[in-house]
């Protein structure tokens, strides 16, 4: 059905001469008019109609009517943003479905998970999907952030969107963490117990300063989180409310802002070379983009030639749907292959050994094993602050949308990777072989270890390396690449190490197969 044709139908009036005042005619025309009211535009076949279809539709108008053709180039973004969004949609849908059966009470939570797994129709695959896509989303946001960093997509005018993205990263981790408790199994209970006590770890500092009595940030944080001294019913309901309502609502709103900013900041970051200089003479689409011309701002197309753009309809939608569907298919395949973990019901008397946090916090838990404050709060705050300040400390006007900003950047990134990949395992091996300060000086006060532990050592060494790169190259961008790469690589190594090589009593083991038997059958 064509745009013009359908318009005719909706506007057609019937003379009031018939006995029933046109009522019969309206009744006859009802199906057609009804259809035309819902699908107002028909299938858009011309480019103009396609543009209209995009900005006339609530769901599609999150896209610009025309996009730069580089958007569809897979290596430009690796599709990570779309993948993250698709995973989030799967999580929303499966999450709402799970809420039908999940009961957030100590007596019922674990049983309701067993019910979902065993007898609820489709429950098992829905729960598997929810669990695995949650892990997938954490991976995807990390990769998405790395992509944005390495292609300089944080540079003006995109600093603010970089900050929003950072906030979304924190939200993703918070959602994942709050969801971790809900099955109320041993894994959940002890991971959250460890996590909540990390929230209490500022006491490590306030105790030394002797101000815990009057200024107890740690105790305050833990009380807010758990509503009790230990993980129990209060904590469960708090985590539930955060997980199913507070955080998702914030997430959806902030994601909306994130997407909207992409348009406002001129689409995806791309190098200047992607667009030839504008053709001189009257702007080609003067009428079409008239509204944009009124705004004195960076807008998608005002200074660009239309030649390098394509209508978002249909190819961008094909691409997005395809990426989303591939991710969904992969998630289903994983969910068919592996069941979401569920251990014994939570037993507050018998800790899991080792009690490990969710995997994305295990890198921090490795540092937490020296200082709860540094690992749980100090270093994460340093890292987040560092990430937040990158766009403001690196203001070099240079190409955006180019991976590693070219050959020099690639070289710095490689060297940083080698440095972190050598230094972090070496330090870990050293601590396993020779121990750390407390093994040498048993009387040492904790405050010394708080500030001198492998975690702070990494931060210091990587900061020095980054400064070295800065003085050698006089490029803040290269220094940023050096710092970001070392942190990313050490995060991955620490996470791997704590996941695979840490066993009972946080001892070192080559693999889980060599863990000693703790509970005889």
């Amino acid at each position: 059905m064509q745009f013009e044709k359908s318009k005719k139908h909706t506007n057609k009036m019937e003379p009031a001469s018939a006995p029933l005042g046109g009522f019969l005619h309206n009744l006859r025309e009802l199906p057609r008019n009804f259809w035309a009211a819902v699908f107002r535009n028909g299938m858009p076949t011309s480019e103009r109609a396609r543009s209209k279809a995009v900005f006339g539709n609530f769901f599609l108008h999150i896209h610009p009517a025309r996009v730069h053709c580089r958007v569809l180039k897979p290596t430009a973004t690796l599709g990570l943003g779309v993948i993250t969004a698709a995973l989030f949609v799967i999580l929303l849908v499966t999450g709402v479905l799970l809420m039908v059966y999940y009961k957030p009470s100590l007596a019922d939570a674990y049983d309701s998970i067993l019910d979902i797994h065993h007898v609820v129709p489709t429950g098992r695959i829905i729960r598997n999907l929810h669990r695995w896509t949650a892990h997938g989303m954490v991976v995807a946001v990390f990769l998405h952030m790395a992509r944005a960093f390495y292609t300089s997509a944080y540079k003006p005018p995109r600093e603010f969107n970089w900050l929003i993205g950072l906030f979304l990263l924190v939200l993703t981790l918070a959602l994942s963490f709050t969801g971790y408790l809900l099955p109320w199994d041993q894994l959940a209970f002890w991971a959250i117990t460890v996590g909540a006590n990390i929230a209490q770890s500022p006491r490590e500092i306030t105790d030394v300063l002797g101000i815990t009595q009057s200024f107890d940030v740690g105790g305050f944080q833990k009380a807010i989180l758990l509503g009790a001294h230990t993980v129990g019913q209060e904590a469960l309901i708090r985590f539930y409310v955060l997980h199913i309502m507070v955080l998702p609502i914030i997430m959806v709103v902030i994601m909306g802002v994130h997407f909207w900013r992409i348009r406002k900041d001129g689409g995806l970051a791309r190098p200047r070379a992607a667009d030839p200089p504008p053709v001189p003479g009257p702007p080609a689409g003067a009428k079409t983009y008239g509204l944009m011309a009124l705004i004195r701002d960076t807008s998608p197309l005002v200074d660009r030639d239309l030649k390098n753009t394509i209508p978002a309809w249909p190819r961008l939608f094909y691409a997005e749907l395809a990426v989303g569907t591939i991710i969904t298919a992969m998630s289903i395949a994983i969910s068919l292959w592996a069941d979401a973990p569920l251990k014994e019901i939570a037993n507050p008397e018998v800790p899991e050994n080792p009690a490990k946090a969710p995997w994305y916090f295990l890198g921090l838990q490795e540092i937490v094993s020296y200082s709860a404050f540094m690992g749980g709060i100090g270093i994460p705050v340093i890292v987040l602050l560092g990430l937040a300040l990158i766009p403001f400390l690196d203001r070099e006007k240079e190409e955006v949308g180019v991976w590693f900003s070219g050959r020099r950047g690639r070289r710095v990134a490689c060297r940083s990777l080698l440095l972190a990949a050598a230094f972090v395992p070496a330090t870990l091996a050293f601590t396993i072989r020779y121990g750390w300060l407390r093994n040498w000086f048993p009387e040492i006060p904790q405050i010394v270890i708080t500030f001198a532990n492998p975690g702070t050592l990494f931060v210091a060494v990587f900061a020095v390396w980054s400064l070295f790169v800065l003085t050698r190259t006089r490029s803040t961008r290269l220094a940023a690449i050096a710092l970001f790469t070392t942190f990313l690589v050490s995060f991955i190594i620490l996470t791997y190490f704590a996941t695979v090589h840490r066993g009972p009593n946080w001892g070192f083991y080559w693999s889980q197969a060599s863990w000693p038997e703790l509970h005889g059958e």
Binding site: Q2, T45, S46, E47, R48, V93, T94, L97, V100, Y101, D115, V119, V120, P121, T122, G123, I126, V279, A284, T288, L306, K307, P314, Y318, L321, A322, T325
Partner: protein
Amino acid sequence: MIPPSGSSPAKKGRFEKPVKRRNFLGFAAVGSFLASWGAGIIGALRLPIPSVYPEANPRFRIGRPDRFPVGSVTRIPGRNVWIFRDERGFYAISAVCTHLGCIVDRGEDHFKCPCHGSVFDEGGKVLSGPAPSPLPWLEIGLDPSGELIVDTQVAVPPGSRYAV
């Protein structure tokens, strides 16, 4: 291919000219996308329909026959069933009003629903009120263990009895 931009008429042609070619691949792609997602969502919508209810088995034992003397009328605790025993045998009458599911009280020789005033006689027949059908007689029988067993989901014709 998109022609190069030029004067106004050419432009109009460029943006308004319908794309003639029929896009079978596109239709197939979107069609299969909608079909697979439709199937997935319809499948997932089975989730709220429980495959097994978290409630007591509607088929339950009530004890050995000698617990119920001839002429007795017994309400089974926790179950909305009246058990009768007369000279001809056992029968069970549901205590759930057929109107809107309230639990009927038993008077001298009739059942009365407190919610909307339906009245049933001794055998469950409607005497007055909005109830559309009599109180059902439920299946009662003997279990291999020698206990009486009642099934609240199986109705039997009124007047039938289980003789021990």
